[in-house]
């Protein structure tokens, strides 16, 4: 019997969220708090000739004004970014000054009076432009920057990092290929659009402690990086994170915290608040990466892929931040979920004069799969093979190796062929890919297979403590940020299952406070349930051992003979001999008054095992643990006359290992699918010729609204991942990653042309079909 696993348990913070009581960072204020307003660059690339702050300083209530300084330079892999631009600006929207004032209104008024004189410079407006021999350099002194060991910037170029995959023998691969396709792909940077814009509060206490409250996915990383950048004692940095209003990768980077720290320093440690406007949140803070890519793919006539040669050119924008890590992750899974013996891939992180990139849900996978899965359809068409059969024939299987030459087994890769079979059935594939429904309208299906691993730091760890209350109920403390994924509710479910107890007696602390909550590396990469889940199970074992120890002395038997369940500790084969958990969880008091034990506090931590860096020359290594695989599809209704379309249905069949909370898992997948379809069909920044973002607001950027959604069909397979809690694999991102490719495949089939640019708007289709000359 399942106590909690698989059940659609409501999220623990549900009542707070529907009553308006749920608090996010900007909902906290104190009297005396000062407010920061940024001045941002109106150019994509320019020298800063002068900054005049005199008029701004005269505004009543202004307490300080910050402008750029040469140091510190910041960045997770390459220290290439001043928190406030110094000497030159490298993207439209970059901070150039910050005003600190008593009220937000005064700060804004003063910010508008700051005069910045720019001397515009030529702009690098795409990765392809960045690689031209005479391209303007975004960073002239790239080699002078400090960097970590495993990043490889190339001097006197705009290349911040290059990851190479060299697997098998390409000559042989091409020789065995009887058919090849070659194509180029591209999409510009876009944005995450979390509904809560980024916000941070900072103060320096009289005892020297620096205290942040931040809407972040990485509270512990803020601690580490602030200590590195500003030479602060890490133990004297406290980061609090209340509920977070969505992140999707966008709140991984440490950015506003740097400015807020410098601001509080400038006003004697008083609390300061910095909250992004929507426009700043879209372009000043980091964005979803863009991509140019070239691919060549070869197969035998009977559909066995023999060679793949791929060049991914990621548009990391003005700074490398997470762009280098994203481009590396793309190399690791560059081929999609297929077994290919001969692979050559270069994945580049490239500087341009665009807003800089950070993680985005799926961490390079929707991006690389758009490229690879479109090429799969093109090649299937060339050898006249059904695109689903072609995919199944090349599916990655236990025993196969990945592009980084990691050998997989059933536990680590799951069952892709089963996913494909189920998708085929759900989509009624045998009825054909195209159905004529009227003189001008057709219905068309397209598919994509998916896979994802998480290439996270090999030493990343997660800790959980569980403490008991005197009534026998349990508190769970984890450094996971509750960002919408419901992971903390899933932790409660895992504990209910493990301790065989009522989940209503398990209380979860939602807020993170780095001083009192055990560390969870970052709330990213669909890793919460695996890492915190494993830590939690260990903490539960630790607590169980303590409960048994105390109970064994009361029940006068060996702890080995005891079990914990139903909020009792009982003798295994004589369950009538028991003591209630509530009578031992704070120790036990004998009738004489003697007492033993004390409050039971269980602790556990977990670090991913046997992960490695990858070899710089060949890509060989094991950078991620398990893979989640799946197959996705889209059905569109396409107007053959004006190229408009409507997405009718979207399908996902995913091998999640184990469903822990059915409705929550489906919700994660549907939400991710919606985001992927939105990215594929309409989301993009529009850049002017001089690199400015023309649509940094919700009215012109066009996120999906109610009614834009298709019908979702979501099915789960359960091939257990042995290392995961109860067999579960990561599920937070996976629903997104095949959607742009499946949409592009359906529309390419519908329009009869290869649609290799995103987003696919009717105008793009019209242009590819030769419209407009």
């Amino acid at each position: 019997m399942s106590w909690s696993i698989g059940k659609s348990i409501y999220r623990k913070e549900a009542l707070e969220k529907v009553t308006g009581k749920a608090k996010y960072t900007d909902d906290y204020s104190t009297s005396g708090m000062l407010h920061i307003k940024l001045v941002v660059s109106s150019y994509a690339h320019a020298k800063i000739k002068a900054i005049d702050t005199e008029k701004a300083r005269a505004v009543p209530g202004v307490r300080a004004i910050l402008i750029g300084q040469p140091f510190p330079l910041t960045g997770e892999e390459i220290s290439d970014r001043p928190p406030i631009a110094f000497d030159k600006v490298r993207y439209h929207g970059e901070p150039v000054a910050a005003v600190i004032a008593d009220s937000p209104i005064q700060a804004k008024k003063a910010s508008e009076l700051i005069g910045v004189v720019y001397e515009p410079l030529p702009v690098v407006n795409s990765p392809k432009e960045a690689l031209l021999p005479d391209a303007m350099l975004v960073h002239e002194n790239l080699t002078s920057y400090e960097r970590i060991e495993h990043v490889y910037p190339e001097p006197n170029t705009n290349i911040a990092d290059r990851t190479k995959i060299r697997k098998g023998n390409m000559e042989q691969g091409w020789a065995e290929s009887e058919a090849t396709v070659e194509a180029s792909f591209s999409f510009a940077p876009s944005d995450h659009i979390a509904m809560e814009t980024r916000c941070v509060i900072a103060e320096i206490r009289p005892d020297g402690f620096v205290v942040f409250s931040s809407s972040t996915q990485s509270p512990y990383m803020i601690k580490k990086l602030m200590s590195d950048y500003f030479n602060l004692e890490e133990g004297k940095i406290i980061v609090k994170t209340p509920l977070v209003g969505g992140g999707f990768g966008g709140k991984v980077s440490v950015q506003l915290e740097l400015i807020a720290y410098m601001a509080t320093l400038a006003v004697g440690g008083r609390p300061v608040k910095l909250v992004n406007t929507r426009e700043e949140d879209m372009i000043t803070s980091p964005v979803h990466i863009g991509l140019d890519a070239n691919i060549r793919l070869g197969a035998t006539k009977d559909g066995k892929i023999k060679a793949a040669e791929i060049l991914y050119m990621f548009d990391s924008g003005a700074y490398s931040d997470k762009g280098a890590t994203v481009s590396r992750a793309a190399a690791v899974t560059c081929t999609g979920p297929y077994h290919i013996e001969n692979v050559w891939c270069d994945s580049l992180c490239i500087y341009t004069n665009h807003p800089y990139a950070t993680a985005y849900r799926g961490f390079s996978h929707s991006e690389l799969l758009f490229v690879f899965e479109r090429a799969m359809d093109m090649l299937a068409q060339k050898i006249d093979m059904d695109p689903i059969d072609f995919r199944k024939k090349n599916s990655i299987m236990p025993g196969d190796t990945t592009p980084t030459q990691t050998r997989l087994n059933q536990s680590t890769v799951g069952n892709l062929p089963n996913c494909i079979d189920q998708l085929k059935q759900l989509m009624n594939w045998k009825d054909g890919q195209v159905t004529q429904i009227s003189e001008r309208k057709i219905r068309v299906k397209g598919v994509s297979c998916i896979w994802k691993t998480s290439t996270i730091d090999s030493e990343a760890s997660s800790g959980v403590t569980v403490t008991f209350n005197a009534d026998g109920s349990v508190n769970v403390m984890s450094g996971i940020v509750e960002i919408g994924t419901g992971t903390k509710t899933v932790l409660a479910q895992l504990l209910a299952e493990k301790l065989k107890m009522d989940i209503n007696n398990i209380h979860v602390k939602m807020e993170v406070d780095t001083q009192t909550t055990p560390e969870h590396w970052k709330t990213v990469a669909s890793r919460g349930t695996l890492m915190a889940g494993r830590a939690l199970l260990k903490a539960a074992d630790d607590a169980t051992e303590q409960l048994k120890d105390i109970a064994s002395r009361v029940l006068m038997c060996s702890p080995d003979d005891l079990e914990v369940g139903n909020e009792m500790v009982y003798v295994r084969d004589e369950p009538d001999t028991f003591i209630n958990v509530k009578d031992v969880c704070y120790g036990y008091k004998y009738p004489s008054g003697y007492s033993i034990g004390g409050q039971v506090i269980g602790r556990g931590s977990y670090t991913l095992r046997h992960l490695t860096h990858i070899d710089h020359e060949t890509g060989q290594g094991k950078p991620g643990p398990e893979y989640t695989v799946g197959a996705q599809g889209v059905e569109v209704e396409f107007d053959t006359r004006d190229y408009t379309y409507r997405i009718l249905k979207a399908y996902s069949v995913i091998d999640v290992g184990k469903v822990l909370n059915n409705k929550a898992a489906k919700g994660q997948v549907m939400g991710a699918m919606s985001m992927g379809l939105n990215f594929g069909s309409s989301e993009t920044f529009v850049f002017s010729e001089d690199g400015k973002v023309l649509n940094p607001r919700l009215r012109t950027y066009v996120p999906y609204r109610y009614g834009d959604h298709p019908e979702y069909v979501v099915h789960f397979l359960e091939t257990p991942y042995i290392d995961g809690p109860y067999g579960a694999r990561g599920v937070g991102e996976i629903g997104l990653i095949g959607m742009p490719a499946a949409l592009a495949n359906s529309l390419s089939m519908a329009a009869g042309v290869d649609l290799n640019k995103l987003p696919i708007t009717p105008e793009v289709i019209w242009k590819v079909k030769g419209g407009g000359g």
Partner: protein, 155 residues
């Protein structure tokens, strides 16, 4: 900064505050009255996260000055008490991060009061003024249709 006294009727209580004539209702609710249920998401009417109810109609509180709310009945999410839409949002998993939720709930609640028999077209007309970035909207559709009295097909 000149502030003026004004009395607003919020969630059935008269509240006297000092605000500038230029302050939006959203700003006053959050900064002066501590009612942080209404959320800033764009401050120009695009996202709906700050939706409240004014005299029975849903309104984006970032598009309205506080002074315009004098002599009107303002209801924020904090003023809802066990409205059916609240429990249905929980029941149907109609939120994840929860940031857009107060706005959606207030918009849904006004819609339910005004058009208890709303069909899919009316629902879409109303709810497309709010953005949710976590769900795929399917769950929100299930929540609102389960409260409305007429039967609903898929959109």
């Amino acid at each position: 900064m000149h502030k003026s006294e004004m009395t607003l009727n919020i969630n059935g209580e008269d509240r006297t505050i000092y605000a500038r004539y230029a302050d939006t209702l959203l700003y006053v609710l959050r900064a002066e009255l501590g009612l942080t249920g209404a959320k800033p998401g764009c401050l120009n009417g695009d996202c709906g996260a700050c939706t409240i109810d004014i005299d029975g109609d849903s309104m984006k509180s970032c598009l309205m000055l506080a002074v315009e709310a004098v002599d009107k009945k303002v209801t924020t999410v904090e003023g809802l008490k066990n409205a059916p839409i609240q429990s249905q949002f929980i029941e149907k998993f109609a939120f994840q991060c929860g940031y857009c939720t107060p706005g959606f709930i207030m918009n849904c609640n006004s819609l339910i009061q005004k058009y208890p028999n709303a069909d899919d077209t009316i629902i879409k007309d109303w709810l497309e003024s709010n953005i949710c970035r976590c769900t795929g909207y399917q769950e929100i559709k299930e929540a609102i249709t389960s409260v409305l009295s007429s039967p609903h097909k898929n959109l």
